[in-house]
Symmetry: C2
Subunit: 338 residues, 2 copies
């Protein structure tokens, strides 16, 4: 019981993304309309395929960050709508290319675009969305915005290549893992948040605070995502686990279990994740080893650390509903683990 | 003999890309250095893989178009160097993604990046080069330039998806083929040329003339490329032919032979290109059918038409070495067929 109270931070209810979404719900509706409108093309496969992955859609967390950051910074115009759509297009393009990359068959429970339409279409429609995103930015007309998102895009691509190199390599340490997470996931969170301060023309200190918030929120989010792939909670929710294990992804729980394990355990990790020689019961054994070494709980502790940095970064903003909801988002990202 | 004279247009020597390259050779050297410098990354696989495909490099035709167009328009600054590098990065990213797409094993006689490093790396390094290209444009700081190249990128991606849909479909007609060629190939030629007028701040009429030149040169170039894939000349040069046939690409020579053929011939095209049921001798038979219906020569005639439009578009520019070399480039693109 004590453990449960500790894990849930003593709160009576689970934290949620909802408060932030509610604060920007009208804006988000406009962004969703803009997304549908701007992913259109006379080449029918493009809206079909893009619509499939955008509808599967998930939580629209990244565009919500842009919308809410702009509002928290006192922005009253409409530029944040197109830029939130840009951020979602870049994210969707990354997902489509990641489908090729990870040979994943399922994403968010729906058949991946890749499985339905093939590698080729996923690559090309991703390219289209990526280009369309830059067209939207050019229409917005701010070189500052273009600099932020073109840089983020290059860093994301670098992160994806880095991940390719660390996959199946049990030598990968926590630093290399973090470098990938920062580049591949957290950079877009940071960019999405910063855009709010940039279009509201807020001072540099607020731009940097939102950058720090987004970066550390993104790290926490990805670490928990990696924990969930080995989590009993996912199983009880009917979600699949073990995708990372199947692919031989060297995520933080693996790194901790590997470093804390003995020679026999390391041989197990090498066989299953480097050589990808996996048999029945291996995933269960991996989870067992992680439990033995507290790898999942300690990964969550690491995530809490980044969450704490994110929270303190927001300290310079005035208290209010947006700041409150941004803070609750940190809790939500971490409490997903339970 | 009469035929040979006719085909070579009565000229004593073959036309070449060289005069244009010579006119911008110092600029091109600077562009090549910039390319090496800006494709660098701490993630070593990126310069390795990008370097492989950029070194294989071909003729640098697209950046040369930008450099020469800028000079013909009287531009005396240095912005054209970075923008020529942008154009080459976009082209290279497209090649890398095309490698995934076409499952081609060989490009320009070297092992394709895809064959050496795999699909995943080709997609991601392509993404990196594409993002890097936008970073270079943002550094240049012109929204006009960004609009031209972000639009070109979106159109190219649309063209690639269109091509995906026409591949293996013998119902594809000449108009649909042209739509793909314009989007996939000619759009970047047009953008590369236009950039010269834009940075030289020339009047709209010159911008449009270079756009028309590039678009029609690009169409002529691609039509001849498609002819060469069935051409005896390629065989005598030791180059491989039949890649398009193997993939079931519906190119102009196929379209003409199919439309001019009888029921039995159409059944042959359907079996080989739609069902991809190919046996020994099929490629030779395809070439035989093309010869029967004059499909290759008439494709070259079509290319000449686009070449003529390109030539007339340049009429508004003053005579001089650049205009002369641009005109020779049209001849070169077409005479490659012989």
């Amino acid at each position: 019981m004590g453990v449960v109270v500790n894990l849930e931070g003593g709160r009576g209810r689970k934290s949620s993304l909802e408060p932030l979404i509610e604060l920007v719900s009208d804006d988000l509706k406009a962004v969703n309309e803009l997304i549908v409108q701007r992913m259109d093309s006379p080449v029918a496969l493009i809206p079909q395929l893009a619509g499939h992955i955008i509808a599967a859609g998930g939580k629209r967390m990244r565009p919500v960050l842009t919308l809410a950051a702009a509002r928290m910074c006192g922005y009253t115009g409409t530029r944040h709508l197109a830029l939130a759509a840009c951020v979602e297009f870049i994210h969707t393009a990354t997902l489509l290319h990641d489908d090729v990359v990870d040979e994943s068959d399922l994403r968010r429970g729906l058949a991946s675009a890749n499985a339905v339409w093939g590698n080729k279409a996923s690559v090309l429609v991703g390219d289209f969305l990526f280009s369309r995103s830059f067209e939207l930015m050019v229409e917005d007309g701010s070189l500052d915005v273009l600099a932020i998102l073109s840089n983020a895009s290059a860093v994301i691509a670098e992160g994806e290549v880095m991940q390719l190199l660390t996959t199946n390599d049990t030598q990968t340490g926590e630093t290399a893992y973090l470098d990938v997470v920062k580049a591949k996931t957290a950079q877009l969170f940071a960019a999405a948040c910063r855009l709010g301060a940039v279009i509201a023309e807020r001072p540099r200190v607020e731009d940097e605070a939102l950058d720090t918030y987004g970066m550390n929120l993104g790290i926490a989010f990805q670490v928990i995502d990696d924990v969930l792939d080995y989590s009993a909670k996912q199983v009880t929710l009917g979600k699949s686990i073990g995708d990372d294990f199947k692919e031989g992804k060297i995520s933080l729980p693996v790194i901790l279990a590997f470093r804390r394990g003995d020679d026999g355990e390391r041989a197990f990790w090498r066989r299953t994740l480097e050589d990808l020689e996996q048999t029945e019961g291996d995933l269960e054994h991996a989870i067992h080893l992680m439990a033995r070494h507290n790898a999942l709980d300690d990964s969550v502790e690491r995530a809490r650390h980044y969450g704490a940095i994110a929270r303190d970064a927001l300290g310079i903003f005035e208290d209010g509903p947006h700041k409150k909801a941004f803070n609750e988002l940190i809790d939500f990202c971490i409490e997903r683990a339970y």
